[in-house]
């Protein structure tokens, strides 16, 4: 079947089977390989994208379910000239990533969090990241980056 969706503001179409997952459609059909697959049980969150403004795990959603939807992925977060957005910049500033594999999902989840809750506490950030697993950072600098991106003092997070 033919699937059409608006991805990062552009209309994109492609062929999909019933079983085609949104993540496969993004990666294989549209070539947007920034969204990653880190597990097969819907837990790691490396595949988080936004569909109609809501964070979803693109490995646990059929492409067909996103037909006609507005989808945003990590590739659409920076400005057209490549300038990092506030959250991306905070991740770099505070060393919120190491190997980078979980990072797209982390950034997309962080974006969803700050939309819902512009000034989250440290505990709220940690709780919100329940579905995003990072093996490198111990989360410390991710939490700090999100706190900083929200415009809050990161002194609340213990010094490194």
């Amino acid at each position: 079947m033919k699937i059409t969706m608006t991805v990062n503001g552009k209309t994109r179409s492609g062929e999909a089977e019933g079983r085609t997952l949104l993540v496969n459609f993004l990666r294989d059909t549209l070539g947007l390989t920034g969204t990653h697959v880190g597990c097969d049980t819907s837990q790691c969150g490396a595949c988080v994208v936004h569909v109609n403004g809501q964070a979803v795990k693109s490995c646990t959603m059929l492409a067909a379910e996103a037909d006609g939807a507005q989808v945003s992925t990590i590739e659409g977060q920076a400005a057209p000239d490549g300038t990092l957005n506030t959250i991306q910049q905070a991740f770099q500033d505070h060393h919120g990533l190491q190997c980078g594999f979980c990072t797209p999902g982390m950034v997309m989840s962080a974006t969803a969090l700050l939309k819902e809750n512009p000034k989250p506490t440290e505990a709220e950030i940690r709780h919100y990241l329940e579905g995003n697993i990072c093996r490198c950072t111990g989360y410390h600098n991710i939490v700090k980056a999100i706190m900083a991106a929200s415009g809050q003092d990161v002194g609340a997070i213990a010094a490194e």
Binding site: V56, M61, E130
Partner: protein, 261 residues
Amino acid sequence: MYNFEFVKPSTVAEAVAALKDEGAQALGGGQTLLPTMKQRLASPETLVSLSGIAEMIGVNAAGGTVTIGGATSHAAVAAQAGAYPALAALAGGIGDPAVRNRGTIGGSVANNDPAACYPSAVLASGATVVTNAREIAADDYFQGMFATALEEGEIITAIRFPVPQAANYQKFEQPASRFAMAGVFVAKYADGVRVAVTGAGNDGVFRWAEAEAALSANFSPAAIEGLSLSGDDMIGDVHGSGAYRAHLVKVLTKRAVAACG
């Protein structure tokens, strides 16, 4: 996963018709079904998405009852079921934010995973499971792990919760999956207290009758003190023995009662 035909009806009637086909299965939010299919443990020939049925989405509060459409996401329940705060809180604690944006109450209750949160709320509230064909009382609905009163092709269109005087849900998470290792929903109504336990029982969600009786007589944590559950009836696995789960149920019940204030 195996391939299948995907259909997305826009009314309950169309969905019911589509589900009459051999090998057709309903797809709620897919948060359990899709991972199962990825493991090739399920092979429906047709998946009938319920996500496009407007009449099955939404939260309604009226006359002491909260009615939730079967295709309503956990996130929507968390945000909109303020008339039943314990239920909204339970929904807001399922899985993680991305899962809550896709997973639905109907999907969860139809699946009846023994560690899912919702079945405890449905059972403790004495809720009514409304399907395309009939209404099923919670006490008749749950029939053991992954087993329910639903017939083949029957769709949960809504669930009606009578709002209690006080209620609280306490969950102790399994450390890996974050499903309930034990979850206790306590709901206090004018005619008595209902206590439903998820995550722990060998037969799935169940009512803890002794606790209900004790709490109906004396709604305080102290009322639970002398009670105990047998670990033999509880799930034992790598995360904890049956005895541990039985202990957790008691602890969580006391905490839920205390949290009711």
